[in-house]
C-alpha cells in the first residue's frame, strides 16, 4: 500500500485517466431470454432450463420487464435512447458460457451519450457515459483442485453494462462514481446492486500521463474489482504501478489484469495479442429491440426527482449543508422522509432544522432499534410538528429530545406529550426572576465567588440549579439574561 504522502507527490506530476465499465444486475424475477427464475444462493444449477443449458434447438425470447428497468437508467442518465437497438452475439469459449456466445449489444446499443451527476464531497461532478447496453450474464466456474464446477444459475441473468468516458481523474473519483451509480440504481428500484452478491461489478481502464500532456497513455484493464473497498484501492495501486514503470524507464503494455483482493495486487491475465476476437454479429434469433411511445411514456411517468437534483435542491432551497444533503440523498427512503417532513412544516426554511433532527435523533433511534427508514415508527409529519414546537419556543431543544424519544417509542403526538407532562418552556421573566432570586439567595458563597472572585465556571452551576428547579423547562436564553442581571456580571 502506497503511503498517502508519496501518492500525493506522484500525482502532482502524473495525471491518471480512468474509465469504468460497470455491470449492474437488473432486478427481474426471471432471466433475460428464458423463464427460469433468478434467486441468489439457490442450489447449483437449480435455476436452469434447456435454453440456459444451451441445448440445441432452444431460442431466446426477450423478457420485456428487462427493457423497462434499463430504460429507467437510460432516462435517469439523460442518455439518447435508440428506438431500435439490436442484440449481437459475442463469441468466446468457456465452460460457463453455454452457447459459446454471450447475447449482448454491440454497435447498436440501447443508450448512448448520457451522463451521471456524481455526488462528491465538494458537490456535483458530471461524468459522461458512452453507452449503456443490455446483455446476459454468464454462469460461474469454481475450481476445486483439478476439477472445475460450473453453476449456470447466473447464466442468463439480465445485466446492463454502463461504460463511462475515460475522464475520471483519480481513484477517489472512481469510487465516488461507483457509489453514485449504486445509489441511483437502488433509488430507481432497478437493482439491489449488492456488490457482495455480484449484482454490481466493476472493470476499470487505467492509464497515466504527465500533467499537461494531451495524448492518452497506454491503458490496462483491471478486472474483478468486486467491492467498494477495492475500487479505490485497486485503481490506486494500478496508478502507482504504472507511474513506477514509466519512471523506471519501462513501458506499459496493453493488457488485462486481474485484481487479487487477498494479496492486494493485480496479476496479468492476458495481453492484447491473446485477446479474443469476439466475432460480433447481430443475433438472427432476436428481432430489433423496439422502444415505442407507450413504454417511454410509462418510464417517464414512473421517474421522480433524482438524487443529484434533490442534493442540489436541499442546499439551494432548504439551506441544508452540503454534507447533510449528501447524507439525506444516500437512500431514497431517507430523502423521501425529509421531503415529507419539510412539506408538513409551515416554512420552507425549516429544512436545515429538520435535517438536523433527522440525521441525529431519527437516524440514531432507527439505528438503536435496527429499523430501516422506510419502517420508521415516527412519521415525517410528527417530526415536523416536534421541530415546530422547538422553533416557536414551546419547548427547549433539550426537552425536545426527551419528547422525541417518547414519541418515537409510543407514537404519541409531541404536542400531546408536552401538554400531558407540562413540559412547556418557562419563558415568563417574572416567574423566572423569583426562582433565580431564591437560588442565588440560597447559595451566597457561589454568588460571591462568581461576582467578586471571577470564577466564570460557576455560571453554569446557577443555570443548572434553575433547570433543576424547573425540570429543564426554563427558557435558557431568558434564564441566562436574568442570571447575569441578578449576579451583577
Amino acid at each position: 500500500m502506497t503511503e498517502p504522502r508519496e501518492l500525493q507527490a506522484l500525482l502532482e506530476e502524473w495525471e491518471p485517466v480512468i474509465g469504468l465499465e460497470v455491470h449492474v444486475q437488473l432486478a427481474t424475477k426471471s432471466k433475460i431470454f428464458s423463464p427460469s427464475a433468478i434467486e441468489f444462493g439457490a442450489s447449483p444449477n437449480s435455476l436452469t432450463d434447456p435454453l440456459v443449458m444451451g441445448m440445441p434447438g432452444t431460442l431466446p425470447v426477450f423478457n420485456q420487464a428487462v427493457l423497462a428497468l434499463a430504460l429507467k437508467l437510460g432516462v435517469a442518465t439523460s442518455s439518447q435512447i435508440r428506438a431500435r437497438s439490436r442484440f449481437a452475439r459475442k463469441h468466446y469459449f468457456y465452460p460457463d458460457l453455454p452457447k459459446g456466445y454471450q447475447i449482448s449489444q454491440f454497435d447498436e446499443p440501447l443508450c448512448e451519450n448520457g451522463h451521471l451527476d456524481v455526488i462528491t464531497r465538494t458537490g456535483l461532478k458530471r461524468v459522461k457515459l458512452q453507452r449503456i447496453h443490455l446483455e446476459e450474464d454468464a454462469g460461474k466456474t469454481t475450481h476445486v483442485g483439478a476439477a472445475s464446477h460450473v453453476d449456470l444459475n447466473r447464466a442468463g441473468v439480465p445485466l446492463v453494462e454502463v461504460v463511462t468516458a475515460p475522464e475520471l481523474g483519480s481513484a477517489e473519483e472512481a469510487g465516488e462514481f461507483m457509489r453514485s451509480l449504486h445509489r441511483l440504481v437502488r433509488w430507481l428500484d432497478i437493482s439491489e446492486a449488492d456488490m457482495d452478491k455480484g449484482q454490481l461489478r466493476c472493470d476499470a481502464n487505467v492509464s497515466v500521463r504527465l500533467r499537461g500532456e494531451d495524448r492518452l497513455g497506454v491503458r490496462t484493464e483491471l478486472k474483478n474489482i468486486n467491492s467498494f473497498r477495492f475500487v479505490e484501492h485497486a485503481i490506486e495501486s494500478e496508478i502507482v504501478r504504472q507511474i513506477r514503470i514509466i519512471e523506471g524507464g519501462g513501458r506499459i503494455t496493453r493488457e488485462t489484469r486481474l485484481w487479487d483482493a487477498d494479496r492486494g495486487q493485480s496479476q496479468p491475465m492476458r495481453s492484447k495479442e491473446e485477446a479474443n476476437d469476439y466475432r460480433y454479429f447481430p443475433d438472427p434469433d432476436l428481432p430489433p429491440l423496439v422502444v415505442d411511445g407507450p413504454i417511454m411514456g410509462q418510464i417517464l411517468r414512473s421517474l421522480s426527482e433524482l438524487p443529484s437534483a434533490r442534493f442540489e435542491r436541499y442546499q439551494r432551497v432548504h439551506g441544508v449543508s452540503l454534507d447533510d444533503a449528501r447524507t439525506l440523498v444516500s437512500e431514497r427512503a431517507l430523502a423521501d422522509f425529509f421531503d415529507a417532513a419539510v412539506a408538513a412544516h409551515p416554512s420552507e426554511r425549516g429544512g436545515r432544522m429538520i435535517a438536523n433532527w433527522i440525521l441525529t435523533e431519527l437516524l440514531g433511534a432507527l439505528h438503536a432499534t435496527a429499523t430501516s427508514v422506510a419502517r420508521s415508527p415516527m412519521l415525517p409529519t410528527t417530526l415536523a410538528a416536534l421541530v415546530v414546537l422547538v422553533e416557536n419556543g414551546t419547548i427547549s431543544g433539550k426537552i425536545g429530545k426527551d419528547v422525541f424519544e417518547e414519541s418515537y417509542r409510543t407514537g404519541e403526538a409531541p404536542a400531546a406529550i408536552v401538554e400531558r407532562r407540562g413540559l412547556q418552556q418557562l419563558s415568563d421573566p417574572a416567574a423566572l426572576w423569583d426562582i433565580i432570586n431564591r437560588i442565588v439567595g440560597a447559595n451566597p458563597k457561589q454568588a460571591e465567588a462568581f461576582t467578586v472572585g471571577g470564577k466564570d465556571g460557576l455560571f453554569g452551576f446557577f443555570v443548572g440549579q434553575v433547570m433543576k428547579e424547573t425540570q429543564g423547562r426554563a427558557n435558557p436564553v431568558i434564564t441566562s439574561d436574568l442570571l447575569h442581571k441578578r449576579l451583577g456580571r
Binding site: 434447456p50 443449458m53 444451451g54 441445448m55 440445441p56 434447438g57 432452444t58 431460442l59 431466446p60 425470447v61 426477450f62 452475439r89 463469441h91 469459449f93 465452460p95 453455454p98 452457447k99 459459446g100 456466445y101 472445475s148 460450473v150 476476437d277 469476439y278 466475432r279 460480433y280 454479429f281 438472427p284 434469433d285 432476436l286 428481432p287
Partner: protein, 488 residues
C-alpha cells in the same frame, strides 16, 4: 393400392371410420421399415415402443368415441435435426451421439396434439449441411428410384422415407433447398414455408435467419394438411410470425385460370435437357388450363450463391459453438480445457461441418464483418427486391428445382460442385419466401424431375393451388419407385 402409400388424409379418414386401426397401420409400417430400410438407410432411429403406444392410445380414443385429431394415427418420420423428448436426436453428427433431449420441438408438439404418430428419426446431412445426405456421420441413404444415386439433401432421409412408403409424410428443414431439392430427387412434394410461418423452437439450428421446417409428402394435398398442423405463431420463437393461418386445404381448387406465372430467365440458362423438357411440359400444362406466363428477370440471382455461402456458414459457426463437450453429447477428454475443446470438436464434427465453421469464422472476424457478412446481408435485400418487383407482374414464379436429376454417390467431390446443386433453391431462403417442389415427370432413365414454385411472403396457398394443378397434369400419378421396396 397398399396401405403404405395411402395419403395422409386417407389414412386419418380410414382410422376415424374404423376401417383400420392405428395399431395395424403402425405395425405395417414397422414391418416395412424392417424389411427394406436396411438397404434404403432412411431411418437413424425407429421408435417402435413410442409409435405402438401412441397408436394404442389413438385406438383407445376411437373405441370410446373421443374426438380424434386431424392426423390421428398418421405415421410420420422426422428429420433428425428436430428435437424429440426422450428420443435420441443427433443431427446426423457424432458430436450429439447419445443426447436424449428433455423436450419436444414445437412442430413435434403440434404433430402429437393432432394425433400423428412419430415413427422415428430420419437421416440427413450432418447439421443439415449438404445436398446429398452423404455428409451424415452415420450412414448413406439411397434414392428409392435408383439405389446407386443419392436421395438429395440435406433432408434425404425424409424424402427417401416418403418416396419408399416408410411413412405417410415426413418433416424436413430447408435452409437453402434442403426440403425442395431432395423432394425433387425422390419424386415427392416438398414445401418450404415463408420464414417465420413455422416455429423454429426445437430445430437444431444451422443458419437461424434461413432455416424453416416444412413437410415432405406424396401429394400436394398432404403437404397442405401437414403444413396446416405445424404452421402458426409460437411465442417461443421470436422470429415466428403472429399472423393468421389460412385453411390451406381450401387452396387446392384445381383452378389456375388467370394465374400469372413468372418465368425468370436466370433460372433457365444452364440445366440438364431432360429437366428443361420437364419444365416446358409443366408450363404448357398450366397455360392449357388458362394460366398466363410472364417472362421476367431476377438480375441479382447470380449473387445468391456467394451471399448464401457467407450468411449460412457465418451463422452456423456461431450456432455450432455450443457443441463443446461440456454439457451434453460426446466429449474427448484431454489434459486441459482448450485441448478438450479441440479434440471434442475435432472428433465430433465431419469435414463439411468443419469447412463451414471455418468459412463462417473467417467471415465474422473483426475487420471482415463489413466486407463479408454485412455485404451478404445487403445482397439479400437486393434479391428480396428483385422478387418484390417480380411479384408486381406475376402471382407465382416457376423454375426447375434442381439443374440435374439425382446424381450418383461420390459424383460431387468438389464442395463447390455440391453447392451448385442448390443454385435454384437458395434465393427463396435468402428472401424468406415460401417455395414448393412438385414432381413433373421422370427422365428417360426413370428419375424424377421437380418443378419449383415460389410465392409472395405468406402466400403458401398459391403454391398449393398451382402445385395441385401441376401434380394432376404432369405428376407421377401412380408411378412408384422400383429401385428399393418397389410395390410390396
Amino acid at each position: 393400392m397398399t396401405t403404405q402409400f395411402w395419403s395422409v388424409a386417407d389414412t386419418a379418414r380410414r382410422i376415424a371410420a374404423g376401417e383400420i386401426s392405428a395399431t395395424q397401420i403402425v405395425e405395417t409400417m414397422l414391418a416395412r421399415i424392417a424389411a427394406i430400410d436396411g438397404e434404403l438407410g432412411a431411418y437413424l432411429a425407429v421408435d417402435g415402443i413410442g409409435a405402438r403406444a401412441a397408436a394404442a392410445e389413438i385406438d383407445r380414443q376411437r373405441a370410446v368415441n373421443a374426438i380424434l385429431g386431424p392426423l390421428a394415427g398418421v405415421p410420420i418420420a422426422l428429420k433428425d435435426v428436430l428435437v424429440t423428448r426422450g428420443l435420441a436426436t443427433t443431427a446426423a453428427s457424432k458430436i450429439l451421439q447419445g443426447w436424449i433431449p428433455p423436450y419436444d420441438a414445437h412442430v413435434v408438439d403440434r404433430l402429437r396434439s393432432a394425433g400423428a404418430i412419430i415413427l422415428g428419426k430420419v437421416n440427413c446431412d450432418e447439421f443439415a449441411m449438404g445436398s446429398s445426405t452423404e455428409n451424415s456421420a452415420y450412414q448413406p441413404t439411397r434414392n428409392p428410384w435408383d439405389p446407386t444415386r443419392v436421395p438429395g439433401g440435406s433432408s434425404g432421409g425424409s424424402s427417401a422415407a416418403v418416396a419408399a412408403g416408410l411413412c405417410a409424410a415426413s418433416l424436413g428443414t430447408d435452409t437453402g433447398g434442403s426440403i425442395r431439392q431432395p423432394a425433387a430427387f425422390c419424386g415427392v412434394v416438398g414445401l418450404k414455408p415463408t420464414y417465420g410461418r413455422v416455429s423454429r423452437w426445437g430445430v437444431v439450428a444451422f443458419a437461424s435467419s434461413l432455416d424453416q421446417v416444412g413437410p415432405l409428402t406424396r401429394s400436394v394435398a398432404d403437404a397442405a394438411l401437414v403444413l396446416q398442423t405445424i404452421a402458426g405463431f409460437d411465442p417461443r420463437d421470436s422470429t415466428s410470425l403472429d399472423t393468421p393461418v389460412p385453411r390451406f386445404t381450401d387452396a387446392l381448387t384445381g383452378e389456375v385460370r388467370g394465374l400469372r406465372i413468372g418465368i425468370p430467365q436466370e433460372y433457365f440458362e444452364a440445366m440438364d435437357d431432360e429437366i428443361r423438357a420437364g419444365l416446358t411440359r409443366t408450363v404448357d400444362a398450366l397455360v392449357e388450363r388458362g394460366a398466363t406466363t410472364v417472362d421476367l428477370s431476377l438480375p441479382h440471382t447470380k449473387h445468391a450463391l456467394p451471399a448464401y455461402y457467407l450468411v449460412a456458414p457465418a451463422e452456423a459457426s456461431s450456432n455450432l459453438a455450443r457443441f463443446d463437450g461440456v454439457r451434453y453429447g460426446q466429449r474427448v477428454e484431454a489434459a486441459d480445457l482448450l485441448e478438450m475443446y479441440a479434440r471434442t470438436r475435432g472428433a465430433g464434427f465431419g469435414p463439411e461441418v468443419k469447412r463451414r465453421i471455418m468459412l463462417g469464422t473467417y467471415a465474422l472476424r473483426s475487420g471482415y464483418y463489413d466486407a463479408y457478412y454485412k455485404k451478404a446481408q445487403q445482397v439479400r435485400t437486393l434479391i428480396k427486391r428483385d422478387f418484390d418487383r417480380a411479384f408486381q407482374f406475376c402471382d407465382v414464379i416457376l423454375t426447375p428445382t434442381t439443374p440435374t436429376p439425382a446424381f450418383r454417390f461420390g459424383a460431387k467431390t468438389n464442395p463447390v460442385d455440391m453447392y451448385l446443386a442448390d443454385v435454384f433453391t437458395l434465393s427463396c431462403n435468402l428472401a424468406g419466401l415460401p417455395g414448393i417442389s412438385v414432381p413433373c415427370g421422370l427422365t428417360s432413365e426413370g428419375l424424377p424431375i421437380g418443378a419449383q414454385l415460389l410465392g409472395r411472403p405468406l402466400d403458401e396457398a398459391v403454391l398449393l393451388r398451382a402445385g395441385g394443378v401441376i401434380e394432376a397434369a404432369v405428376g407421377l400419378g401412380e408411378r412408384r419407385p422400383a429401385g428399393i421396396g418397389g410395390i410390396a
